[in-house]
């Protein structure tokens, strides 16, 4: 029997993979993809809670992921645009090269 804990475990695993990717990957596009993983971990949480604690007011738990997906798409567009201009200027997508703001 698959219960809520399975979903939460999946979500936690996804989140940690995403976090690890964000912190360790040097490729900008890979960092963006890792961020998407973290978003989706959150979405799974939303849906899972919504399913297991059903009630008339819990419809928001199913609607919210739609908004998150929309925002994530916009974020990805902006993020890719930044990486594109980074590539134009530096001829690389390595985020370690973008350190002009260093103190």
């Amino acid at each position: 029997m698959i219960g809520i804990f399975h979903y939460l475990a999946l979500s936690a695993v996804l989140f940690c993979i995403g976090l690890y990717g964000v912190l360790t990957r040097r490729n900008g596009i890979a960092v963006l993809m890792s961020i998407e993983l973290m978003f989706n971990a959150a979405n799974i949480n939303f849906v899972a809670f919504s399913y297991y604690f059903k009630g008339i007011h819990f419809i928001s738990g199913e609607v919210f992921p739609l908004f998150v997906i929309a925002v994530a798409a916009s974020e990805a567009a902006v993020g890719l645009a930044i990486i594109l201009s980074l590539y134009r200027n530096k001829k690389t997508v390595n985020v370690d090269e973008a350190n002009q703001l260093r103190g």
């Binding site: 976090l19 964000v22 912190l23 360790t24 960092v31 985020v95 370690d96 973008a98 350190n99 002009q100 703001l101 260093r102 103190g103």
Partner: protein, 659 residues
């Protein structure tokens, strides 16, 4: 149309000229347009003053004058909060004989001076700037003249001070001019402090700034003890500074560094007249206190005497005139100080003095015009025998000299000698002494004025320069002023009762004041006053003639052991500059060095310490900013982790005990 409703435009028109020149500077620069703008607006203001003046004259003539006319706007209105006096400030104008005739004089004389300035300032790189300042100056003077309350008067008062600073330091690249400007500003400001304090105490006691309202109050009951004489004397402090009375007269001779038309404006129509006008305007405060009147009278007569002695030994023509102004202002203060009997004559002297003093300064400017290549074009050592070369200047200058020395039939004879005589007739304490000193000063006045006159125009000396008459634009104002130096006095005959149709015109015009202050009107011919006035005039004239025109340069007499110390005293200006220097170096310098120490070590030290501390910390921790986004993200992750552990483990319960 009732022109009197537009009286508020009188000060606003010169202001408009100022703004027009300032904002149109780009287009006017170097051209004569700015002077035309100034003169046009100023003339309009003069015409308006004429209408107002005639209206008041007409009201008086038909006996329908019912007190001063006021127009005011509410400016700031704060209601009374417990324990605090309600604040109700107004801006408004006050039209009565005093302000109407003063506005007329100011606009008339300043217009003539501006016309003269077209010729005098020709080719000066600051031509437009000069006319904008002049317009602002006239506006400031008219504001304080027509204001109906202390606050607006004070605003105009300070604006006059600012304009005098700007104009005295007009040639600011010359160090002496810059210094003179600062001196004028600081010295007059010293007196202003007293004015401000007196004004505030008066408001605290009466709850209003309005002149008319205050004058209707029962002041002796409201102002008890020392306030009765303290408030008028505090306000008099301001007048002492502005009108260059002893001991704050030191700025006026140095103010000669400005262009000559500025000197004429300052000495005749605006700056120094403001002090006398202030005392006249607030005279209701002075009449209730004999102490205050006595102080005013003695300061006045002593200033008159002291300035006259200094004028005797000056070689700079403008300085002679500066000291003569101080001396004449002393007479005006004397006239106000001897009580209501001299009030009208003091105002009369103020008006007539404006004509002949403006004429004297403009004449001196005309004389010095050919000498502008000299280091000091005003040094009388260069002059002599100019009578033939400059006939127009000569004759107009002669008129002014006769007017100021009190030659019969000229303006000074009726105004200045009337002031002296009112000192004799007054019932004030020591009035005989005051009168004697004033009469002796009249002798000195005649002597130093004719000394200057003979040294400049007579003698056989051939000028080194190609001397020529000044252009017409400069001569014309001289001639108009010369006419007024002659006939200006004929409007104040009442003292002598010679029966011309307009014989006691000034006294009738000032009738509201005559009634307000219960001025006794004498209807007898004062032969003694007339005779003595004429006598001292002739005595001074002959003294100067013998010593200077006859060529008896009394160089040997100066070595006389009795005369020499006096001569030295006068040449050194009674050591007043040294006196102020000593006071400043003793008190001012000591105080300021303490303040400086506290400032550099305590305040600056604290501020610098904070600044350097912040900078140091910043230097130490700047290495945290690596620029690697992933490091930042890692730190955020760690922080969130710690927070989660903190919350989950119930750490907040443990921390809560501390709060």
């Amino acid at each position: 149309m009732d022109w009197i409703k537009f009286a508020y435009l009188i000060p606003l028109l010169p202001l408009a000229a100022f703004l027009l020149i300032v904002f149109g500077f780009r287009f006017f620069k170097g051209s004569r347009i700015s002077s035309y703008v100034s003169i046009l607006f100023n003339t309009a203001s003069f015409v308006l003053s004429c209408f107002v003046f005639l209206k008041i004259l007409n009201l008086e003539h038909t006996d329908s004058y019912s007190g001063p006319i006021q127009f005011s706007l509410s400016w700031i209105h704060l209601h009374s909060v417990s324990g605090i006096i309600p604040l109700h400030l107004q801006i408004g104008i006050l039209l009565d004989p005093l302000s109407a005739i003063m506005a007329l004089m100011v606009t008339f004389v300043s217009t003539l001076i501006m016309i003269y300035s077209i010729g005098y300032m020709e080719g000066d790189p600051g031509f437009s700037t000069f006319f904008s300042y002049m317009s602002l100056f006239v506006m400031a003077m008219l504001t304080l003249t027509l204001s109906n309350n202390f606050l607006l008067t004070f605003a105009g008062w300070e604006l006059v001070g600012l304009c005098s600073y700007l104009l005295i330091g007009f040639w600011y690249k010359k160090p002496s001019a810059a210094k003179a400007a600062i001196k004028a500003f600081v010295v007059t400001r010293t007196g202003d402090v007293g004015f401000l304090i007196g004004m505030i105490i008066l408001y605290w006691k009466t709850g209003t700034f309005n002149f008319i309202q205050i004058s209707h109050l029962n002041l002796p009951a409201l102002l008890s003890g020392w306030l009765l004489w303290g408030i008028p004397l505090l306000i008099f402090c301001g007048a002492v500074g502005k009108s260059a009375q002893f001991p704050l007269h030191v700025w006026l001779p140095d103010a000669m560094e400005g262009p000559t038309p500025v000197s004429a404006l300052i000495h005749a129509a605006t700056m120094v007249a403001a002090g006398v006008y202030l005392v006249a305007r607030t005279y209701f405060l002075f009449v209730i206190s004999p102490t205050a009147l006595l102080v005013v009278a003695w300061i006045g007569v002593f200033t008159a005497f002291m300035a006259a002695t200094m004028a005797l030994v000056q070689w700079d023509i403008k300085r002679v005139l500066a000291y003569s102004t101080i001396s004449q202002l002393g007479y005006m203060m004397l006239g106000l100080g001897v009580g209501p009997i001299g009030f009208v004559f003091a105002i009369f002297l103020l008006l007539t003095h404006a004509f002949f003093k403006a004429l004297l300064f403009l004449g001196a400017g005309s004389v010095s015009h050919p000498f502008h290549e000299e280091e000091n074009p005003f040094d009388m050592h260069h002059y002599g025998g100019l009578k033939k070369k400059m006939p127009h200047t000569y004759w107009t200058f002669l008129f002014a000299t006769l007017a100021i020395t009190g030659c019969p039939l000229f303006a000074g004879f009726f105004s200045k000698d009337a002031v002296i005589d009112s000192a004799f007739q007054s019932r004030i304490l020591t009035h005989n002494l005051l009168w004697g000193l004033a009469l002796f000063t009249a002798f000195l006045t005649s002597a130093y004025m004719f000394r200057m006159f003979f040294l400049t125009f007579h003698g056989t000396k051939e000028p080194e320069h190609q001397v020529h008459e000044s252009p017409w634009v400069m001569i014309l104002p001289l001639m108009i002023l010369a006419v007024f130096s002659l006939i200006g006095g004929w409007f104040g005959f009442s003292w002598y009762r010679l029966h011309l149709p307009w014989h006691d015109w000034i006294e009738r015009f000032m009738n509201p004041y005559v009634q307000l202050y219960h001025i006794p009107v004498s209807h007898t011919i004062d032969w003694m006053g007339m005779g003595l006035g004429t006598f001292v005039f002739l005595a001074g004239f002959f003294t100067a003639w013998v010593l200077y025109s006859k060529g008896l340069r009394f160089a040997s007499a100066l070595e006389n052991p009795i005369i020499k110390p006096f001569h030295q005293l006068f040449v050194q200006k009674w050591y007043m500059d040294e006196f102020w220097g000593l006071i400043l170096s003793l008190f001012g310098f000591g105080l300021s060095s303490i303040a400086s120490w506290i400032d550099t070590n305590l305040f600056d030290g604290t501020v610098r310490g904070i600044g350097m501390g912040t900078g140091g910390i910043g230097l130490k921790i700047r290495s945290i900013q690596t620029g690697f986004v992933q490091q930042y993200a890692f730190i955020i992750y760690l922080a969130v982790l710690i927070l989660i552990i903190f919350v989950v483990s119930g750490g907040y319960l443990w921390t809560a005990r501390f709060f």
